[in-house]
Symmetry: C2
Subunit: 471 residues, 2 copies
């Protein structure tokens, strides 16, 4: 069964390590070229950059030695597909990632420009450095290394999308078409879009929350009014919106939407204790964030609030005058963007309906409300902890990091993973190399060079263990 | 006593009316030049335009025939002073107004450009058309007409400021200096910066609310966070701000700040009945605003909510991601601008302190709050209904509008009026010619040509009656 003996392991590791060492400056330079493309998928003004980023990935897959790499056009941003088939009898891994990035604003809080990558103190700073271009590029370079050193032990497919940050609508549509399933058929989907517990403590993510992202608009009078002439007599949409939004949680920080918790799994005390058994230190967490206290659902620890409990956050709010000085306006409209993170068994579509019914009922007579779905929702994911692929991933971490990875549950969402699991009926490996401190979605996003290069090594070792376990 | 006999009245009216008719196109053209200057005082980027507007007013006062007109430099925007002294034994009127305007945003809701005035359907459309450039210009042209036709019956001083829309700090400072009081000494201060009940029903404003304008900032974590990785475990400043703001009013729309109503006068049923005796029609009001219901303090009519009750409105709110699509951010900060309108006896400084104490106590551990005063507050004003100046104003309306003006209380504030009253110990006349439907502080602000020209006529007639009553 386990044909991957110590001597061979040593020879192969030297080979791939030597190759990486010889090419590391080029690897980094190419990643910086990738990071220079402002491929923000949530805003149409970057449409050309998004296209350029897709072309870049295709080109680098071809240069890495894939048999084929091509763009698959969609109604939105193109998918990039590439493959290197070694032998049909070997296991096949589908690498999923995304070439799009979050918007970079607020720009004024960046110490260096978001699309002008800079290496400082062994970290590369740029929007997308960690989420997810750095991690996608790690996979491309792992494949190049294995092909160049003639050691690729399995078949590898790549599917890199451009709408992960804006809801993955096009890939969702693509996956729904059965005709596309053969192309993507794999034994495991491998995703590097999550974080390690720390550089000292590797981890594998075994759960992701789902997400629903909505925008709400409250309309009062048909035009902006003078707040002196009308103030106190006409409902102010900002006051009303604040009132409505604050009604979404009670004094215990529990979400008040009727039915919201109905399907939420209640974990046993044993499972909760196991979940809380991590190297997490609350005082350090608070210190790193500069907060005097954490705020969350009463009765749960921070680890639980992130891993097994749903959440509701207002992601943006705007209305009235927001410039310098004052304007005594009673505005016609007020807006907010908000998202809910879902845990296993909660159904995104049901949550959208529950929210919409509840929220629209909150508006007083004298104002109107509209609820708009910004992203198609996604359900939570739980990874099979006993799969062959997860065993291979554990062994890869043990080899490269000299430490067994802990199994964690992430608070974030990768909307498409739930669909991969359902449609392709394969194992899922969430093998991320970021860190929570990478400031993804924030100013000054960065990715450690150690994370990048150790990541390449871990991915290579994973392929070898997977092939060995399948033999 | 009353030397202004019918025959003389007829001769003079003809003369001034003929002069206005002969020059009406020029009057309008000059007003349009005035409106083209984007003199927004709340934003530093318009500093040069504000200066240009002051120069424009000075120049037009000189052209009107004043003895002197000059800029009085301040730490902020210059004051424009001008005077035409006829005879020291005659009464003196101090005309107060402002050449600054509100910001014009949201620009996209303007049908024509805010600083490119256009006459449509007998109305002039531009930012400042009604508030207050149109009304200031009315006074300059009334003075020009009286000087040109050699009929000026009293002394007239002008004091036109450039910070009315941003708190009148410089004029407040100027008024505090006793050395300046002689320059401004007058029997009456005449202000045209309010609205008529309607074109069919003239009115004189006898009360103005005071105002306090604040900005609040809630800070949570020290940087923007990913709402998946942290959502549910870290206090979100937007959620917290909404919660805090919604705590400022109870279910009856009463403001909850402790002590806020302590000094508010309780009117007798007789006074309330008198106040509600206006041509106001609620159904038309709602229809004009496109709202199904009014929302305000329980137990009071719309007229009362505006005229005799204080209010609290959020004038602006912002935080997190407000662009297209979605960004799953848990932001570091959230902000709001809010103002309170005060009624007689409430003390602006006391209200600021009450608000600050209450609001800062609302913030949960895990977040911080800052309260900033945007404008120095102003107290409410009540005009003496029995003054000689108010009698002259009533007679002027009766002559020109053929109808006795109703006495109203406005919801708006003209911060400096309270200080004039206190410092100069003179009568106040709030003789505004705008309409509530002029969309001041809103897109598509406009001012009726009839309001402008009838306003000139009314001001001229007021001077004559005032002089006659003083004889």
């Amino acid at each position: 069964m386990y044909a991957y003996d110590k001597q061979e392991k040593h020879r192969m590791m030297l080979n791939t390590k030597q190759y990486i060492a010889a090419h590391q400056n080029r690897f980094l330079g190419e990643l910086m070229d990738f990071l220079r493309i402002p491929s923000v998928s949530t805003s149409r003004e970057y449409a050309e950059d998004v296209q350029n980023a897709a072309e870049f990935v295709k080109q680098k897959l071809l240069e890495a030695g894939t048999d084929q790499a091509r763009l698959i056009e969609t109604k939105g941003c193109p998918l990039v597909y590439g493959e290197k088939m070694v032998d049909k009898s070997l296991p096949t891994v589908l690498v999923y990632g995304h070439y799009d990035v979050q918007p970079a604003d607020p720009y004024e809080l960046w110490e260096t420009r978001p699309f002008d990558p800079v290496v400082k103190e062994d970290k590369i700073y740029a929007r997308g450095a960690s989420d997810d271009k750095g991690q996608v590029y790690m996979h491309i370079k792992a494949l190049e290394t294995l092909i160049a050193t003639k050691q690729l032990p399995c078949n590898v497919k790549f599917l890199i999308e451009g709408e992960e940050e804006s809801g993955s609508d096009s890939l969702t549509y693509f996956l729904k078409d059965q005709q596309n399933h053969a192309l993507l058929q794999a034994d495991a989907v491998l995703v590097s879009d999550t974080a390690l517990s720390s550089l000292e403590q590797p981890s594998l993510t075994t759960g992701l929350r789902g997400i629903v992202y909505l925008e709400v608009e409250v309309t009062g009078p048909n035009r902006d009014l003078h707040s002196g002439t009308y103030g106190g007599a006409v409902g102010n949409p900002i006051n009303i919106l604040c009132q409505m939004l604050s009604s979404l949680k009670d004094a215990h920080n529990r979400i008040t939407i009727p039915g919201f918790y109905d399907r939420v799994e209640v974990l046993s005390e044993i499972d909760r204790t196991a979940l809380n058994h991590t190297p997490f230190v609350l005082s350090k967490y608070k210190e790193a964030l500069g907060i005097a206290a954490v705020i969350g659902e009463q009765g749960y620890s921070t680890i639980e609030r992130i891993g097994i409990r749903p959440s509701l956050d207002i992601n943006g709010i705007w209305g009235g005058y927001t410039g310098e000085g004052g304007k005594t306006v009673l505005p016609s409209k007020a807006h907010a963007k908000l998202s809910m993170r879902l845990v296993p068994h909660q159904e995104a579509q049901e949550i959208i309906a529950q929210f919409t019914n509840y929220f629209t009922a909150l508006v007083p007579k004298g104002a109107k409300v509209q609820v708009k779905v910004v992203h198609a929702g996604s359900n939570a994911v739980v990874v099979n902890r006993n799969s062959v692929a997860l065993q291979a991933a554990k062994k890869a971490f043990e080899d490269v990091w000299k430490k067994s990875p802990v199994l964690t549950r992430d608070g974030g969402s990768i909307p498409i993973v739930a669909q991969f699991k359902e449609v392709l009926d394969c194992d899922i490996v969430l093998m991320g190399f970021g860190l929570d401190s990478d400031a993804i979605h924030s100013p000054n996003e960065h990715f450690g060079l150690a994370n990048f290069f150790k990541g390449i090594d871990t991915v290579i070792t994973f392929y070898k263990h997977l092939a060995a376990l399948y033999t």
